[in-house]
């Protein structure tokens, strides 16, 4: 019991402390002091990376700032909020709104939006936790069944359900991880020149708009090899032109 109380307090303490700071940052935002609000939200997100509100509000502040690279930073922040809280309709709306400005959509073309929402009903963290819970249930029930022969028959249905639950959660988790952008990043500059090699001596292969989501494939001497998912292209960009998510 004491252990549970301690765990609860340990998890909740930073949340209570951050709520006051979030209020403060929100007041700055509502006074249209977006730059100051962004700095506050950034500090909050750095202190507690699991707070979706800090990432979401940071995305809003960047979006309102509207300077060079701010759309991309807004998309990166919304993407982090979406990873933590995929069921939040506001997060989905703002991420989609910002992505459309960068020439993308949240729901892939051809996929029904309901299917997308269902597929992203649970975050990867939540699915990982469910997968572990299933595994632990299997271990506990299995231990009990092994330990005493008399319990074995009675625990058999429970073992079956725990196994199904574990396999479903693990499979969903793996599928989500496989379909998500691997090593994601966002291009910070408009008309960023993507070259065929890591250096200015290589020709420009193509240009990407600001805010385009990319997959970071490799890194070499201040350059990142990126893959642009929508167009299926890859090339090299200076590392300071990409924000990793």
């Amino acid at each position: 019991m004491n252990l549970l109380l301690f765990l609860f307090a340990a998890l909740a303490a930073p949340v209570w402390a951050a709520n006051g700071e979030l209020d403060q940052a929100n007041k700055l935002y509502e006074a249209s002091k977006f730059a100051e609000a962004a700095a506050e939200y950034q500090a909050l997100a750095a202190a507690d990376p699991l707070d979706p509100a800090a990432h979401y509000n940071l995305g809003n502040a960047y979006f309102r700032l509207g300077g060079a690279g701010d759309l991309a930073r807004a998309i990166a922040s919304y993407q982090r909020a979406f990873a933590l809280s995929p069921r939040d309709p506001d997060v989905r709306h703002n991420l989609d709104f910002a992505l459309r400005r960068a020439g993308e959509t949240l729901v892939p073309t051809g996929m029904p939006s309901t299917a997308f929402v269902l597929f992203h009903l649970l975050s990867r963290t939540e699915l990982a936790a469910l997968h572990w819970l299933g595994l632990w249930a299997l271990l506990l029930l299995g231990s009990a069944a092994l330990f005493r022969e008399g319990w074995r028959r009675r625990l058999q249905p429970w073992l079956l359900w725990a196994g199904i639950f574990w396999a479903a959660a693990g499979g969903w988790w793996a599928l989500l991880a496989w379909t998500d952008i691997q090593a994601p990043g966002v291009v910070l500059t408009g008309d960023a020149e993507v070259r065929s090699g890591p250096g200015l001596n290589f020709p420009v292969s193509f240009k990407t708009p600001e805010g385009r989501r990319v997959s970071v494939l490799d890194e070499k001497e201040g350059w990142l090899e990126i893959g642009v998912l929508k167009e299926g292209l890859r090339g090299w960009l200076p590392a300071d032109q990409v924000e990793r998510i």
Partner: protein, 618 residues
Amino acid sequence: MNGSLLALALLAQPTLAQDFNVSATVNRTQITLEEQVVLAVTVSGTSASLPEPKLPPIPNFNIHGAGQSHNFSFVNGVMTNSAEYRYVLVPRFPGRALIGSITATSGGTTRQTAPIEIAVLKHAPAQAAQPPSAPAPPPQQQPLPQAAAPPQRGAPGMPRNSSGFGPDLYVTAEVDKRNPYVNEQVLLTVRFFTAVQLMGNAEWRPPTTQGFLIEDIPPGQPYQAVEHGRRYSVSEIKMALFPAQAGELTIGPSSILCQVQQEMNVDPFSPDFFQRFFSSGLMQVQTKELKTKPIVLRALPTPVDGKPASFTGAVGRLRVSAEADKRSLKVGDALNLTVTVEGTGNLKTLGEPVLPETAEFKRYDTVSTVNLAKDGAGVRGSKVFKTVLVPRASGRLRIPAIPVSYFDPARREYATAETRPLEVEVAPGAAQAPAPAYVASSPQGGATITQLAQDIRHIHGPRRQGPVRWAAALSRSLWLHLLLSALFLLSLGSFLHQQRLLNDPAGARFRQALGKAEARLEQARGSPQEAAGLLSDALSDFLGDKLNCPRSGLTLKQAQGLLRSRFPKMPDGHLDQLKRLWEEIDLSRYAPGASGDAGHIIDGVGELLRALDEAMKR
């Protein structure tokens, strides 16, 4: 309607769906040789950059630029831009003169005006002069040099014939300064002196120059002056020149072409006297070209010392003012900031004033327009810079003073003019306001909502944390992983152990024999009265388990025989010891008191059992 009297020749092309249009107007379509025409060419469009019009050759007129003005507005995201170029046309000959199509070209698109016809009369008609049809030219547009009227006969000091003291015609050129600074205005004045009747107006050919930016200036009013003891009609032509570089610069010769009447030397006894007399009279027309001398200037660079950071090369005397089109607005609304720089000097090349950086406003590109006025003193006017600012924050925001630095050649020092700082009241909430919606009535009588704009949704306040925090904590609970895995492994080990025992009972008895026997020995130590029985059980149980035979009824002889057969390498000493202890135990069981110390027997049995167990493992 007095449309014809207005003499307005608005000859714009029809408005097409293009970026720009060009139109031309003249203030009069009928003039005398002593008058002038003001031609206004307007280029208008919806882009910030408009092309300059190109005049066709107009041989019947001398053309003088008389300034230009721009009008630019940016309202609700729609840009309108127009530029008017004014020219003063001085007729050279009487007759019908045609101003051909004036063209403007931008991005491969060419627009042109329709030709304009002007009637140039030698003298004004008998009736009242033609009233002006368009607004009078601006005050700086002075009359052009006209056909120089011959000096009035009988006027004091006026020579009676062309063979007076001075020449009949001559031309001079002078500049107001010989050592100007780079970009400082130099006024070139060309004076045309004539004491004889000209046939029409003279043609002016401007000088060839290199290293100057040139603005021509409308000609001034002809006047009369006495030079070299003779009265002349004097026409002045002026040009403003701005040195573009330091060093020696030359203003080349300019020329004036004119036609004068001269008496012919006619021989009255010539056979063709009458033919020539009746065809052209006793006068003949002669074309004369007069040239000015080249002028050499030495342009000086502006001083290096004391040059302000905001200096961009302006030379002259400038004033600057700033105006915002609104003083109260909301965050995200656009504000037009107009910075006007006015004064004398080369305003065309004036650089954009540097707006101090401020995080409270988002700044968009600046668009500039030039309005020039020209008179005898040179070029003056204004350059207007329009910038769209969008406030990012609410409250009373301040647009700082905007400096414009220039070099004042009269004082030979740099000066900086500044605007007054402007304050605007910015209300919050516009940017984060919900998307505006328009509610209209539907034909069915209900209300329909039409969304007019989309925006991001509002920020989140502190709210109950979702399960992600717990999920992350669970996923990272390594100790729980280890604990449950260990528990499972333990259970599995126990299970496997049990399975092994079940599958090999003889082996299990063999492995557990010593342990069970030692437990009995310990028991025997605790109860001396029952020690003999317990020792007998321990020994027989041990042997039964090891030899996998029933322990009940096991005799010493059977035991020795089985030990020898199953374990051939068993030492004889162990078997002897077994026999001795067996007999001692039997003795103590059936003849209590005859046997020795029970503790000694227990120790001996213990040692024997361990020795046998060891020997059996080999």
